[in-house]
Amino acid sequence: MSMGFLRLFSSRNSSTAAVARERLQILLAHERGLVGQPDLLVRLREEILAVVSRHVTLDPDKVVVRMEKGKHVSTLEVDIELPNEPLRAAS
């Protein structure tokens, strides 16, 4: 199906529909971050914490897991602050 064909039927100039489109895009970008996958980040954080703390002593409060939603790709940012002390041997 050609989008150009559908585009013929739209009029986006100064219409209330254009306002609706803008409002929705902003709102949904926000809501997707909030409710998209509510437990995914929590689960990721817990598991990363578990894996890393098997090898290194760390402060759980210094582990930040953040998801950045982009248009085409999203990025997962994991920020772990490691204390400057000798690594604990894996036991």
Binding site: R7, S10, A17, R21, V35, G36
Partner: protein, 271 residues
């Protein structure tokens, strides 16, 4: 291979039940063996739209709880011999549905039907989550209007995370069905454009159903619109959408504004 299809939306009043009846009947007409299942416990309506309200004896909850056998609860359509209805309960509350019980009923339906179409209730609570739980495919019924699009977005998020398929790392195949499309209002820029809805929801389009008196007339008499007025634009749009569900390539028609001669003359005079 049986397919489980959920017809869902989040928002109420967008046309889930009408669409379930129409797609179910169109699939049955094309030779598929179809059961439409009403998940709207306490507020059932699919029986009414299908014209079977006086034939309901047992319902989905009776079957889930083991009070009745599936064969006792299924109602065969009087017009199409391979179309069946499994009604919802009008008296119980939605908590009577259990995940495990619904799973068992869906499994049993898969054995004897080509298509199991689950008509979801509005909202995002138990009835809605159970209606989508075992789905292979989903039709998300959306009106070109802000609150409907927002709710569809929420439902898409749930289809991608709360279904059995999603939990197995697979994907529910999703389709947007735009209903109550008013060509005149869209042309005036009062209604969200179809391409905007698709872009925002990032989901492929199954069909565009025009806002139509024929849909209301069909539900008045308890007959799916594809049977009641097969030549109407709404019926043809549902038939095309159904062909696409079956994998056929059908050119997408955008319902055009039907301007009567009188209306044209009046408009010219007004302008």
């Amino acid at each position: 291979m049986a397919k489980v299809l959920v017809v869902t939306s989040g928002k109420g009043g967008v046309g889930k039940t009408t669409s379930t009846a129409a797609i179910g009947a169109a699939l049955a007409q094309s030779g598929q063996k179809v059961v439409v299942v009403d998940f709207d416990v306490g507020l059932r309506n699919l029986d009414l739209v299908m014209g079977a309200e006086r034939r309901v004896v047992f319902d989905l909850i009776n079957v889930v709880q083991g009070v009745a056998k599936l064969s006792q609860a299924l109602i065969r359509d009087k017009r199409l011999e391979n179309l069946w209805l499994l009604p919802a309960s009008q008296t119980r509350d939605k908590d009577a549905l259990t995940d495990e019980g619904v799973g068992r009923v869906i499994d049993e339906l898969r054995q004897s039907f080509d298509w199991v179409i689950c008509d979801s209730p509005a909202g995002i609570e138990r009835g809605a989550t159970l209606a989508m739980r075992y789905a292979d495919e989903a039709v998300i019924v959306t009106n070109p209007e802000v609150s409907s699009v927002r709710d569809s977005d929420r439902i898409i998020g749930m289809l991608d995370s709360k279904t059995v398929k999603a939990e197995k790392g697979e994907r529910v195949t999703k389709h947007i069905l735009i209903t109550r499309f008013d060509a005149a209002r869209a042309a005036r820029g009062e209604m969200l454009a179809i391409e905007d809805v698709l872009e925002i929801l990032a989901t492929p389009l199954l069909g565009i159903i025009p806002e139509s008196q024929d849909v209301l007339r069909a539900s008045n008499v308890g007959c799916p619109v594809v049977l009641n007025g097969p030549s109407t634009s709404a019926a043809r749009a549902y038939m095309d959408a159904t062909k696409r569900l079956l994998g056929e390539t059908v050119t997408m028609k955008v319902p055009a504004e039907r301007k009567g001669l009188m209306k044209l003359l009046l408009r010219r005079r007004a302008a």
